[in-house]
Symmetry: C2
Subunit: 372 residues, 2 copies
């Protein structure tokens, strides 16, 4: 008689314990994501004010056991914190990401990751030196839809070779935002709409190009800046070695829109909500391959195919899950930090740098070099 006793599955590893630095609006979303993720838990919240930390914990129904600190250092000095999520203004990323890494905390850093690629390089260098995982907060990377779209784009029959990608991301900021928000203040988020929204457009262009860096970038003329010189609206074209072209527009000044169209030699992909899906659990994108007109160019030979991709967990919880899994590998299985994620961050930030340089140099083309 064979042994039919089922092997008991090993108990799940204990969750990765997160500390959150600051109580930014976006921290609410990540706090929910950490709670939803089966592999993570919120261990601590630090704010410059204990009152704010307490009201954040209450508003987000964090467990009573959550450690609340009146400083970011409090979180970093907590030996039970495995990883930190840093949603602070961009100008503070360098200081706190480096401090966290030096305390051996794994770093999940909001985008834009830094005010320049040079700063990001130093953050990543310290993370590597200290053996901690680095990942930026680009949530849509982790949506299962993104993987299905990538399959289409890598299919030589359905898509072929990339020829162009057009993308935009905008929302209509209100007067209060345009006066007071962190993202329009040169001391806090000097990259403005380029860092906040253009980040995603650039990532979409890189995604379309299988993460190959463009050879050069040219900013579109006449970006809109506020009095302090922060970009409120801008665009650029990205030019790859093989002739493929990307264009993007990002803006705080027009209605909420996030379109990406990717054109290959044989197929086209379109997605209308690539950064934050219309609905959390059910998303879609459309493709069309081998498009032709019918006889006499009266109609098309087909309409786009709509692909539905569902997910139980929202993309931000999947991001936390992926990050936690990497941290778990390092912490408990002796693995090295995954280099894919800091490389994607760096490529995005290099293109942002090139756009800024192009604007500063009167819209001249600016080379994008990995080795600078």
């Amino acid at each position: 008689m064979s042994d039919t006793t089922p092997t008991p599955s090993p108990p799940p590893p204990p969750p990765i314990r997160f500390g959150i630095l600051g109580c930014a609006y976006i921290a609410r979303k990540l706090s929910r994501a950490i709670t939803l993720s089966p592999t993570a838990t919120i261990h601590a919240v630090g704010s410059r004010s204990l009152t704010k930390a307490k009201s954040f914990a209450a508003a987000n129904s964090l467990p009573a056991t959550t450690k609340l600190y009146d400083s970011y250092d409090g979180v970093l000095n907590d030996a039970d914190v495995d990883a930190v999520y840093i949603p602070l203004p961009t100008s503070l990323h360098f200081r706190w990401a480096v401090s966290a890494a030096r305390k051996r905390k794994h770093v999940l850093l909001e985008k834009p990751t830094a005010v320049s690629a040079g700063e990001l390089d130093e953050i990543v260098r310290v993370c590597e030196e200290c053996g901690v995982q680095f990942m930026d907060g680009t949530m849509w990377m982790h949506h299962p839809r993104t993987a299905v779209m990538a399959e289409f784009l890598s299919d030589s029959q359905r898509f072929g070779l990339l020829k162009s990608v057009q993308t935009c991301y905008s929302f209509a900021a209100d007067d209060d935002f345009l006066e007071n928000d962190i993202r329009v203040r040169p001391d806090l988020d000097a990259l403005g709409a380029l860092g906040d929204l253009g980040w995603y457009c650039i990532r979409a262009c890189l995604f379309a190009a299988n993460y190959e860096l463009p050879k050069f970038v040219t900013a579109l003329r006449n970006p809109v800046k506020n009095k302090a010189g922060v970009i409120l609206s801008c665009g650029a074209s990205l030019h790859w070695e093989d002739g493929a072209v990307g264009t993007f527009n990002c803006s705080f000044l027009s209605n909420l829109t996030m379109e990406t169209s990717v054109l290959g030699t044989k197929g086209t992909l379109h997605v209308s909500d690539f950064v934050i899906p219309y609905k959390e659990k059910s998303t879609s994108f459309s493709t069309l391959s081998e498009g032709r007109f019918t006889d006499m160019d009266l109609e098309w030979n087909q309409e786009p195919s709509v692909h539905i991709v569902e997910t139980d967990l929202p993309q931000e919880a999947l991001m936390v899950k992926e990050f936690s899994s990497l941290v778990d590998g390092i912490k408990r299985r002796g693995l090295s930090p995954d280099k894919k994620w800091p490389i994607l961050s760096r490529k995005t930030q290099l293109v942002i740098d090139a756009v800024v340089t192009s604007i500063d140099r009167g819209f001249e083309p600016v080379e994008v070099l990995w080795d600078r």
Copy 2:
């Protein structure tokens, strides 16, 4: 006792009699459109070869009474021809449109209307001098969907002010096209993909801007040209006085795609088949106004609204109908030619000129001036 006898409706005016110059592929579509239009009829076809004219007439089931000529002049010299449709290669437009106008034939001219705005100006000048209607063959202008989209774009509540428009039109030409087609030959269609496809993109940008000319235009770097210097793929940005920006890509080298996204301060419009609808009789576009994220930026407050617009007649038949109605007004009701249509052609052609100049001048911005 009141007279209840219904007033008999007047008999419909006799149809406008078209002559077609040449048997180009697109002439088949227009021949069908003229036949479908209740206000037009095909009276004559001229080709450089009578055999071609005969086989065109047979292939398109033209009535046996259709006059067939072995020259374009044959059509122009036929006193019964009211109007001509000219689908000849662009380099021949000037000669034949001017000849037609001088013979008092109304002119429906394929796009691009001329190799330069200067040439178009001379065509339009002669048409005005001779009192004939001029219209270019931009069929989508005449689809009822276009009017419904224009309503949305002019709605200060649903759309607001234009901030940006992104558009592209491409199809994947085969090797034979890229070697031999009229549209890649410098002597026949020197504007290549810019004239053939960019024309529609530029018209879409002008449409989005309520036909206001941009202040300047900058070509994107590195257009693809063939050995003879004809554009196979290119793009440009259009910049309006008020800061609005348009970008377009047009190409013979990527899969059939024609997207237009128009972003205003309050609303967004997207259409995926603006030049030739997927289906002749039922079309759609989508809009979204006052887009916001829900609490914590988890989802959107709404998904785009899809608007269906149906039409009994295809857009090219509606174009013929509109053109014929204008011709009828001139011919039978003493009206003057409508200036709207040549003005739209000229604006489109002025932007094409500026793109070409920008490419020639190393991608410098080029002013677009109505008065040159």
